[in-house]
């Protein structure tokens, strides 16, 4: 492993330990504040100073997520190695990094609504779920970084046609598609209004798709860089073409079914906001999983 990449790993690892402390500290503060805020109990003004520490902790977590994702991506591109663990760490890292922004918004909303004497249990629920994701992504990133540091002592073999990014892109597509589909199915069973559902679908859809878009962006950008010749090789092209054909065959009846549901009175009101993400995530899962299947069949 090149020296600068090893330094990157060590810096990120140190930041990771700081982020663990920051996460534990914030969770501790939230655990103390939660019963008081939800029961609208007035608390000591000295808690204001903890708010500053919590804000610094949020920034620490965000910096770690950014460094973690960049380090793992740099390792993947330079060392030409990847694994499901690393891809999971990258996907959760990007989603968790974006959820930090939602944490800030939620905390601000909780503060404002508490001052108005309103109930904030829903916001707290999302905040704690978001922290669950931060913990998961932090653990995955730390394990991946330690594994990279322990495994990689020999230089990477020269590669003219990339296969690591190809594999990573489709594995990411499968994970993001699966997460998105889970979210949409959860939406189908929820009682949220159409107005609320439309907003959640757009924001969550973009957040869930962001890791796929990041890897796709790197792949396109990487093709235009030196070192790796551009384009797919003929087998990659064939694998994607067959996967694309099956995806088309699979999604056409699905579209007809969705259209029928839209016209019928069977669908709930929120269906008009959910059918498109359902179709997009189903197509993404189908395309990525089939490409990986053909890709691995010949391994």
């Amino acid at each position: 492993m090149p020296r600068f990449l090893k330094s990157f790993h060590l810096i990120t690892l140190s930041l990771g330990f700081l982020a663990i402390v920051a996460l534990i500290f914030n969770l501790g503060i939230f655990a103390i504040l939660y019963p008081q805020v939800t029961q609208l109990v007035e608390f000591d003004p000295s808690w204001e100073s903890y708010g500053v520490v919590a804000a610094i902790n949020i920034i620490t977590i965000a910096i770690f997520q950014l460094c973690g994702v960049c380090t793992l991506l740099a390792h993947m591109i330079i060392q030409k190695k990847t694994s499901t663990l690393v891809i999971l760490a990258i996907v959760t890292g990007i989603i968790s990094g974006l959820m930090v922004l939602s944490d800030i918004t939620l905390l601000s909303d909780i503060g404002k609504e508490y001052a108005q004497g309103w109930q904030t249990r829903g916001e707290w629920k999302i905040l704690f779920n978001s922290y669950g994701l931060h913990i998961l992504s932090l653990v995955l990133a730390m394990v991946s970084i330690i594994k990279n540091l322990r495994d990689d002592n020999k230089p990477a073999e020269q590669v003219m046609k990339d296969e690591v990014l190809f594999l990573s892109l489709h594995t990411t597509g499968l994970i993001c598609g699966g997460l998105g589909l889970l979210g949409v199915v959860a939406g189908l069973f929820s009682d949220l209004s159409l107005w609320m559902m439309e907003r959640i679908v757009v924001v969550m859809g973009l957040i869930v798709l962001s890791p796929y878009l990041v890897i796709l962006g790197i792949w396109i950008f990487r093709r235009n860089l030196g070192g790796v010749t551009p384009g797919l090789d003929e087998k990659q092209f064939q694998d994607q073409a067959i996967a694309g054909l099956w995806t088309l065959i699979f999604t056409l009846p699905l579209m007809l079914l969705f259209f029928g549901l839209q016209l019928s009175s069977l669908a709930k009101e929120s269906w008009s906001a959910l059918w498109l993400p359902l179709l997009v995530f189903s197509a993404l899962i189908s395309f990525s999983s089939l490409t990986l299947r053909y890709f691995r069949e010949y391994r």
Partner: protein
């Protein structure tokens, strides 16, 4: 009928050439070479000619038809 090949033997004769080195020379991924060697993937005429040219052989010396 299937497409057979002598790729493994040719790589061995060529100083134990790695699949990656051959892949780099003909502009494909290592996995494609691996799949061709194992008869799981049939290369295009262009790639077959590139591989034959790399080893300095005729096409028939590298690829052949296997009768059932």
């Amino acid at each position: 009928m299937e497409l057979g090949n002598n790729l493994k033997q040719l790589r061995f004769d060529y100083g134990n050439l790695s699949q990656q080195a051959l892949a780099n020379s003909v502009g494909v991924t290592r996995l494609t070479i691996h799949s061709i060697e194992n008869g799981k993937f049939n290369p295009t005429t262009l790639l077959a000619l590139k591989i034959a040219r790399f080893f300095g052989k005729s096409l028939e010396e590298v690829f052949f038809i296997q009768e059932d």
